[in-house]
């Protein structure tokens, strides 16, 4: 799969300035190296801090995700696509999606959608984990990429995902439709975006989004 890069903007929270970054239509070895050499140690440091300050609730629930294993498992599979956000040569976000899965929302039932298997921002971007968070906007940039892929695949912007409990508020804020727990065997809430909602999401834009 050919990798393409698109310019995007993120908010650098400590200085409250907009910075240039790149959305890549792949996760390359450089991103996996960043994950191994930067994300994993940062995550371990954050977990230690949360444990020592008895703030276990601040540990992101994605802390067990192993991106190297996920990427190796799906290598060469057309139905799986990956995306990454890079800023100043450092990986800030990763996403793995499936095309297609099928919609469960009543008005769209059975129609194809892009299913977001995994979406994660770098540990230093998570508010309350390693401080106030460094870059804001990584998650919405990646979700926007999923919607744009859905449009490109003729799925009319439909996307779906199961959310970890600590990310539910994020997806609700983006006005994804909460279809509850009944569609998930893992006990996670299932969210979908219909074509109308996807169009509204893209139109809303926002200064920190592509």
């Amino acid at each position: 799969m050919t990798t393409e890069s698109f310019p995007i903007c993120l908010l650098h929270k400590p200085t409250d300035t907009i910075v240039d970054a790149v959305l890549q239509t792949s996760i390359e070895e450089a991103q996996l190296e960043d994950w191994r050499n930067l994300w994993v140690p940062a995550r371990e440091e954050g977990i230690k801090r949360c444990v020592s300050t008895k703030q276990i609730e601040c540990i992101p629930q994605s802390y067990r995700w192993k991106w190297d294993k996920k990427i190796a498992y799906y290598d060469g599979i057309l139905a799986k696509r990956t995306f990454s956000v890079v800023c100043n040569d450092r990986t800030e976000g990763l996403m793995l999606v499936t095309t297609p899965a099928f919609a469960l929302e009543e008005s769209q039932k059975g129609k194809p959608l892009v299913y977001v298997d995994f979406l994660e921002t770098a540990p230093w971007n998570i508010n309350g984990f390693l401080g106030q968070g460094e870059y804001r906007g990584v998650g919405s940039v990646l979700l926007r990429a999923a919607v744009l892929l859905s449009l490109q695949e003729e799925y009319q912007g439909r996307i779906g995902l199961q959310s970890l409990p600590d990310a539910e508020a994020f997806y609700s804020r983006l006005q994804m439709r909460d279809l509850g727990l009944e569609h998930s065997k893992e006990g996670l809430r299932y969210f979908e975006m219909t074509p109308i909602e996807a169009n509204a999401f893209l139109t809303r834009g926002g200064r920190y989004e592509i």
Binding site: M1, T2, E4, G76, I77, L78, A79, T99, P100, G110, K111, P112, Q152, E153, E154, Y155, Q156
Partner: protein
């Protein structure tokens, strides 16, 4: 967007009817239906080669059937 290659496809009337039916039902072009089918087929083929199995499960009837590929 990645460069695409064009090919001619020969289908029987029955196959074309199914393709057109799926295209209408899923609100996709015939090309998009075939691309979708290729992705499923490749995924299933790779997993079968790895010795994995594919099941259809009916939650209501509590039935589970294995899909056999030869």
């Amino acid at each position: 967007m990645a460069t695409k290659k064009t090919m001619t496809l020969n289908l029987t009337p029955e196959e074309m009817e199914v393709l057109e039916g799926l295209s209408a039902k899923k609100e996709l072009s015939k090309t998009a239906v075939l691309r979708m089918a290729l992705r499923f087929y490749q995924l299933i083929d790779v997993r079968f080669e790895q010795g994995q199995k594919l099941y259809f499960e009916d939650d209501e009837k509590k039935e589970k059937a294995e899909l056999i590929f030869i």
